[in-house]
Symmetry: C2
Subunit: 226 residues, 2 copies
Amino acid sequence: MTEGTVDVTATGDDVAVRPPRRRAPRGQGELLRDEILEATERLLLDSGGDEAAVSIRGVADAVGVTPPSIYLHFADKNELIFAVCEKHFAELDRRLQEAAAGSDDPLESLRLRGRAYVRFGVEHPGPYRILFMSKPAMAPEWWTHERIQESASFMHLVEAVQGCIDAGAIASGDPIRISVAVWAAVHGITSLLISKSVLPWPDPDELSSFMCDVLIDGLREAAAHS
Amino acid sequence: MTEGTVDVTATGDDVAVRPPRRRAPRGQGELLRDEILEATERLLLDSGGDEAAVSIRGVADAVGVTPPSIYLHFADKNELIFAVCEKHFAELDRRLQEAAAGSDDPLESLRLRGRAYVRFGVEHPGPYRILFMSKPAMAPEWWTHERIQESASFMHLVEAVQGCIDAGAIASGDPIRISVAVWAAVHGITSLLISKSVLPWPDPDELSSFMCDVLIDGLREAAAHS
DNA sequence: TGCGTTAAGTGAAGGGCGATAGGTTAGCGC
DNA sequence: GCGCTAACCTATCGCCCTTCACTTAACGCA
């Protein structure tokens, strides 16, 4: 047996090999696209977020279609996988904004944002890994600068940091550089928790809270230099 | 053509398909093991650290042997890949110790350690990704608790943090929790630089220096709580 | 009602992968 | 020179992604 993939296929045969599927009506070819996305997401979830364990064949079987039909809507497997994760990316921003709205204090709001970030990653390890921990070569063409740097989530973080600066809660400095540092810090926690989930980590909330506290205390100072 | 793997096979055919190879003498079966490791490392480097682009067949060809011979020395592909990365793990600790020895001041020593960590990851993205960013299911059995938590590198970090506490340079607290936070922070930088290498990041040294400065300033305070 | 057009989907195959079962050859002591 | 066995190979299974050429079904229109 091919080991190294955990074989979670026993989670339920309610998905596997749905046999028929009526051809979509004339102008509605895009219907299949949605069904493919839905099935892929389910399989990705069932596999514990291991995109290698999700196969085009498996998706095709789950939809009730043959593999080549997938390629009518997605250029290759990577594009399909990333398309599934796009909605999670949007939800991440939503969750962060929701969390940040939990306090009027800019600092506390930033802390809440950091906690929510880590929690999101831990709760959606599959999409998180694909979005933020995959090899650069794996991401499709369109997933580059504008997708992350100009993304809503990052911009919202920069705004939050700027808010802290404006309120005098942290020392002034390049808000983008500070944002990158904050992002890297909470991403580091998330990434380690996901990759080394077998190690005896502290509670994610406790860890992210501690990290945010330390960062904010540090940013309160000059954090001198340029 | 199978896209998504960058096709770096053009780097040089000096490795590919070395045809013969004399059978090893009677008690020297382990010789092949070393040749396999060496070839795998070379291929892993040539592929830009993409373990999926390194195939058992390719390694066998490079060594001048047939694929089943690989399995005489490694249980499966993952074990082979991780075996290659083990030496890099040891070198990481060496590099960190060397960097930390660059200053007698505990704080400056910790900063140097953080910078060296990020630099190592950026210089060895392949092994770093496999060691610290891979799926938990991918790591072999023996690569767990004792391998990281009780590893030299982590213990050395804890000692460095304890040194800062003893010197009164940072507030007292659980050195392990602090070490985890420091590790997560520099790992976050490294991970983002590796995965999103296409984004316009600041200089790695500058980024890690800034992160360490902020963390240390923050840890100087109480960073209250338990 | 019937028919051409064309979107929607297949069948079959190419090429590559990890892994295994069972056979073969070459080194070495005697 | 001969057997034993470590060292290695041949052949194959089953899976994967992807593509090309082909078929079938929906629909406007006469």
